[in-house]
Symmetry: D3
Subunit: 134 residues, 6 copies
């Protein structure tokens, strides 16, 4: 169903440059599970290495935002961009990091509200207030 062949875990692990990345994914996540996104990228080891490097740094390195907040922002973007795969995988990640039903419900409500006001502001073509451009 993918437009590139999904490698099996065995095939991906058989490519040395891919294996190194997959092992790092397993180590960081403390899990042996490799989801389809990485098995698709394993067709192109340099791309796999670059994307995982970005994900690892941005989503897991110490910083000013806690891990769950990062996942909820990721879900918000993925929903607005309508990436079904990403909505599924990052909702699972957020739940694994402790997102409660109440937090999920509020996240969905904000995503819906923002989408509504985005459409209204665009439909009315509201000029940006000078106060916001200072």
């Amino acid at each position: 169903m993918a437009t590139i062949r999904l490698l099996t875990v065995e095939e991906a692990d058989g490519i040395p440059e891919a294996r190194a990345v997959l092992d790092d994914i397993r180590a960081v996540r403390q899990s042996s599970f490799i989801n389809n996104f990485w098995l698709a990228l394993a067709n192109n080891p340099p791309l796999l290495a670059r994307i995982w490097g970005d994900v690892k740094q941005i989503m897991t390195a110490p910083g000013a935002l806690d891990p769950l907040t990062r996942e909820m922002i990721y879900i918000a973007v993925s929903t607005a961009n309508n990436c079904a795969y990403c909505v599924h995988s990052h909702t699972a990640a957020a739940r694994a990091k402790g997102m409660s039903d109440a937090q999920h419900g509020e996240l969905l409500a904000i995503i819906g509200l923002a989408s509504q006001t985005n459409a209204l502001a665009n439909g009315m073509q509201i000029p940006v207030d000078a106060a916001f451009q200072a």
Copy 2:
């Protein structure tokens, strides 16, 4: 520049149903400033009342997410939907609620990363893993 006439504050305050909403906006925000979005909606008082009611409840009522997290999620959606007005106004709101430069930088990095992986997942048409559908 808007596709509907922006009312002046005086005009909007002269419409009783609009005045009541604008006064509530001033009270909740503890500020006399009314931004253009509301002055445009004031052409249609029932729509103004409904949207402000949603914003007030979802963005300011006590809940499971803190106010700054809610604003960052709003910015994320508005950026993905490319609503310039909304990005400006909610970035200002987030700063007013204490968003630091470091938090803003991380927010931008996550928005950029998610947009990239959204595009890759959609471009490869990755099927959702059974593990995410349980």
Copy 3:
């Protein structure tokens, strides 16, 4: 400001293949005004001719939908796709075809509502009911 040079009306009228299209636009609209979109396309007369031909047929030929309904659908798509130029020009067109303030207000409300439920359905990844696939 455009990424291709906007021709002046005189320049565009000086290109025979473009002139024929511009004259048809003037005739169909019963107006001498040529808006920027056509002056940009006039750099490429075959593209100008094809796009105008589509617009003329789809938006003005007799059919099952009345002209104002067609313009409101056009505004809805342009808002969702966030094309500022298109929102402006088709809101002007809809007003010229009689769109009232009340109709505009309801149009905006539907666009906002649909954007909200679109986001909720995508965020929750709701499967399509069998009843809708019959």
Copy 4:
């Protein structure tokens, strides 16, 4: 397959605040069928109540636009936002309200045309004519 658990109709009806909303949906639609969107929202009764309240008012209250026109605008937005669930459910709703094959064909043609000119206007970055900003 949803990212939140779809309740069964029995489960949803077992939640008093949800039951009241579902019964109103049944009454307004004069049908016992409850589609998945509402069964997903039933996990969060206040969100269910708010969204249904908006849909009921905007899509069914007397107003300046007839019910079928409202559904076609909804389909246009849902298509541009690429919400598969929403395209399916609102196409079904439009058919139930009498949309003919000819009307559906014209709706699709306008959605396609607008998407094309949206892309051309954005690709050429056409400045908005002064005439449209008056």
Copy 5:
């Protein structure tokens, strides 16, 4: 699963105006295979004829861009617009026109990169440099 009935090849060939278009598709592509997109459009022969005419001219007529480059641009747009059907069908078309795994990988990398910088530029609301507006 479609919102309009997919005709069978036999049904579509039974409609004279549709048959003429389908035969031209077969001739241009030198293949007897008719994909679902055309079988859906065959419900509306004038729309079928217009869209195929556009595709034939833009994608296959001699021009300044080679056929594979055209398909890769098509995939890029379809991915950004998240049209699953279009990503699948045009990836197949690009492969049929010789797209190598290396070219596909670079195409995906550019689509991902552009999506990321699009989001960053929109999130920071960067003003266009005067140098780019000359």
Copy 6:
């Protein structure tokens, strides 16, 4: 007008980690001009370094796609995502790499066509042919 302060070139060059990246941009492009995107990112040197590293590798390293084709794909994505800044800057880059008026016209035509068929395929919810999923 940006949501983060655009640094002046002097300010950006005064930050050692930013200076190193800006000097590499100047060297690779063989130009002293630094456009606003990089001056905005210079507020966050690690993000500046990462994004420039990606752009440099993906857009300029030897590969299977020539530099102009890469820029046209970038424009296509940026147009579909409606990033005005990106459309302007990458159209300028494509012109600097030799894009002719004819190539630009064909690029625009493909972007418009794809946007139209994307909308039609999504509006009709066409199922992917088995032949494309092999």
